[in-house]
Symmetry: C2
Subunit: 509 residues, 2 copies
């Protein structure tokens, strides 16, 4: 068949870019007027995906239609992330059009129906995910498929490789690059600064990138930031590691396994924990960071992420096996995840615990110290700085003779200077109403209280425990203190604590 071809076979539709100042998290959202002629001729409808192009750069965005005077007919409004991703100049005109079909979704559908995916198809999916071409609905299908059709080793290896290769990779001039990672958060489990200080003091290279809190009251980067700058670029990070052997910086300024952050957001919304996803997530980040020897802390407990010893062992086996395919040595350590570690929960409160342990202060939390010694010992053995079985002893010695404190202070100085963590202006102590034994602490409820008190945004906010599980408790004895930077937030945390009295469970002896 034939017919006259119009001058422009794929008509371009230009609209004036307008920055709306709307935060939509990682989802690019654009707004067009419902009567916009471009939208009409494209036949667009609200909540569909649309391609927005500025010269050579383009993004896929969710479209909403506006019938008020918020937008003119010839404008396209952009959310903040859409604006940033496209790198728009303020007076730019943008093309909008239906997006090309997402070919890699056919691989996701194949996975849904039980087919295995090879590296090529997984790379195509991950590339589209990293380019933010996947909508939430499509991401959810991918995550769900991996839970419903658990992959075997080869597919998990391929997924790890696809995620690894989609981002940056760090390289270090050392044959052994040590690392540690905690799988599944536990409030207050802030061993990283201690482990890095001990390992670096022993001569290991341990360039640690840490995350900020996403759903927890504090990430390692949040706690560390109360003691030293953590927002270092790659060059600054390299300078610190060259000088001190170790660092504790925020990983956000380097792009290690960028697909991981996107997957994690959707996994969290679904509360789905595919083991393969977890393995690929952890290992792709560690491989991208250039690590060769990784100690993995797996807290196990009824209110921790990993709930039983069997789950932990199965997960450990997978982590070791997949890491081995990349020549990376992983040592999982199963730890007690039944209650928080240390006394403080919240960025500054956790930093105070860390400093107390480093300084050998009276009243320093012994559980945090012992756990850090155990994990650092594992790192020393992994890195060849201690004989098998003697790592913990070496680690304890480095801590006790002040070498760890000196190394930590040197690292802080190299990162921009040490500072003492802040103290909250408002506190409220909660006492035991009756005596007995503190039987159990609910990690999840306690984390929620700390967040309501303002953590991690309010650095000094959070919860300070005065008793741990197994302790005897007298009536009237302090159980915990809420810390807040404002009276309002403190009240709000108190309300929640009042509604959840079993958060700290005291039973008669």
């Amino acid at each position: 068949m034939t017919h006259p071809v119009p001058a422009n076979p794929a008509p371009a539709h230009r609209l004036r870019a307008r920055r709306l100042g709307v935060e939509t998290q990682s989802e690019a959202v654009v707004f067009m007027h419902a009567d916009c002629p471009v939208g009409r001729s494209e036949g667009v409808t609200a909540r569909t995906q649309i391609e927005v192009r500025d010269g050579a750069r383009s993004i896929i965005a969710t479209l909403y239609l506006v019938s008020s005077d918020m937008l003119a007919l010839d404008e396209v409004g952009l959310s903040e992330v859409a604006w940033r991703r496209l790198g728009v100049a303020p007076d730019a005109t943008l093309h909008v059009a239906h997006p090309n079909p997402l070919d890699s979704m056919s691989a996701v559908r194949a996975k849904v129906y039980g087919h295995r995916l090879d590296l090529l198809r997984l790379k195509a999916i991950v590339a589209d995910v990293v380019a933010e071409r996947y909508s939430d609905v499509q991401l959810a299908a991918f995550i769900t498929a991996f839970s419903a059709q658990p992959p075997q080793l080869a597919e998990t290896v391929a997924l790890t490789r696809a995620m690894l290769e989609a981002g940056d990779r760090l390289a270090w001039p050392s044959p052994i690059v040590a690392d540690k990672h905690c799988v599944g958060g536990l409030p207050g489990n802030r061993t990283t600064p201690l482990v890095v200080a001990i390992a670096a003091a022993a001569g290991l290279v341990i360039p640690k990138t840490s995350s900020r809190a996403i759903t927890s009251p504090a990430g390692t980067a949040d706690a560390m930031e109360t003691m030293a700058p953590v927002d270092l670029d790659l060059a600054a990070m390299r300078a610190v590691v060259d000088r001190e052997g170790g660092c504790i910086v925020w990983g956000g300024s380097v792009r290690l396994s960028p697909a991981d952050d996107i997957f994690i957001r959707v996994e969290r919304a679904l509360d789905l924990d595919s083991e393969a996803q977890l393995v690929a997530s952890v290992l792709s980040k560690k491989l991208a960071a250039g690590s060769t020897h990784v100690l993995l802390d797996l807290p196990v407990g009824p209110t921790a992420k990993v709930r039983t010893r069997e789950d932990a062992e199965r997960l450990s086996d997978q982590l070791v096996a997949v890491a081995a395919e990349f020549g990376m040595i992983v040592r999982p350590v199963l730890t007690d995840g039944s209650q928080p570690v240390g006394y403080g929960i919240g960025p500054a409160l956790e930093a105070h615990d860390v400093l107390a342990v480093l300084r050998g202060a009276a009243g320093a939390p012994q559980d945090l110290r012992e756990r850090a010694v155990q994990l650092a010992g594992g790192v020393l053995e992994l890195g060849g700085k201690a004989a098998p079985g003697s790592g913990a002893e070496s680690a304890a010695a480095i801590l006790d003779d002040g070498r760890a404190l000196a190394k930590f202070m040197a690292i802080c100085e190299a990162q921009g200077g040490f500072r003492e963590p802040p103290v909250a202006a408002f506190t409220h102590m909660i006492e035991a109403v009756r005596g007995g034994v503190l039987r159990a602490i609910d990690n999840r409820l306690l984390a929620r209280v700390a967040k309501l008190a303002g953590a991690p945004r309010a650095k000094a906010a959070g919860v300070m425990l005065h008793a741990k599980a197994g302790d005897s408790v007298e009536p009237g004895q302090p159980l915990l203190t809420l810390h807040g930077e404002s009276p309002g937030e403190l009240d709000y945390a108190l309300s929640f604590a009042a509604a959840n009295p079993d958060m700290l469970l005291v039973r008669p002896r």
Copy 2:
């Protein structure tokens, strides 16, 4: 433990409601200022789910944060669907808070991991879905799980029942209530007005509710609307059926299986067709409509929804078996889905085809006539108005002697009055560039051209075919004519047609 309980244990957060005029389709979206004190104290972040309450009514909405002056600090901006669902008065103040956890998601997770869901758990899921408590991500997990872990009969029956019971149910004072439904659209397949006219003329009760187009160039309700009003409420629909035995109305004003529309939106975004979902979708709607005897048209073809005869037969077996559990009799009819039916594609163009068949006009599309006779014959046999094997003959007689036309006109009058469908102001004919045989027509591309020309919004817009697959074609012979209500839309459809010359495939003889 104990502590003073604040006056208000769950502080309510009030914000002034502001209608933003933003169309977000079925997803409720609300906007708060990034510095809003309520949001700060709740610790909300962009793109999380939030509960918005106005007295006893509440909705779950996706939250975006605004840093511009679009909103004041004490305002909450609502999208149109959020505004409607909550039924807000213009000067209302609303409470916003974190939503309660969605308990039914644990059942979705169980399904993901391969467990079967019983009626109780499916009803809990469907109730939350209908209450719009599910986010897109959660809906996608549900849909994906049913594709990845295909249910057996009992679970499909339970899903159908859960969907049925979540909405309204119609009842008719007749032991036999006939119905017909086409599974998977085929452009131009507008047999419903013909089948209803023939069946009602034969004395059957056939109260047909039809849908408008969602992704296609025309739904039955769109085509019918060019001939008579279709937007009838339940009382008006009953009056038509009482008087004429049948009707052809839009189903949108009755709430039949409301979960279905929500599931379909997500299935479409994923391009996932779970057979069980399809079965539950079709049957829950038909059961809710009060139908007892249903003829199902299943077009089979390479560019139709059902692609092979085997798929069609497996699907038919499931539909019959599940329907039987509800005492509903279903007769599937496999039809040719290899090309469009009739000549017109688009609301008015399809209506012209229907009227030509009813009027016995010269040049009436014979394929549409034959298919309507076949399907109406099946309905007559199902409903006891024709002996097995003689239905098509009876249907043809009713069509040929004018009874079907008379009944159709009577139904149109009862629905508010018959009108002739409109004719497009702008047309463009496309001719064959070479001779040969028209081998194949791509349903999907052709539907896209009709939509670009303006269908279904522009009622007279669409495509008129002048040749069908198998026809001999001479060079310069008209192949199709584009119809549009504006020159711009016509140009746009032309561009797309030019870019897709194989849409109508002419090969040498």
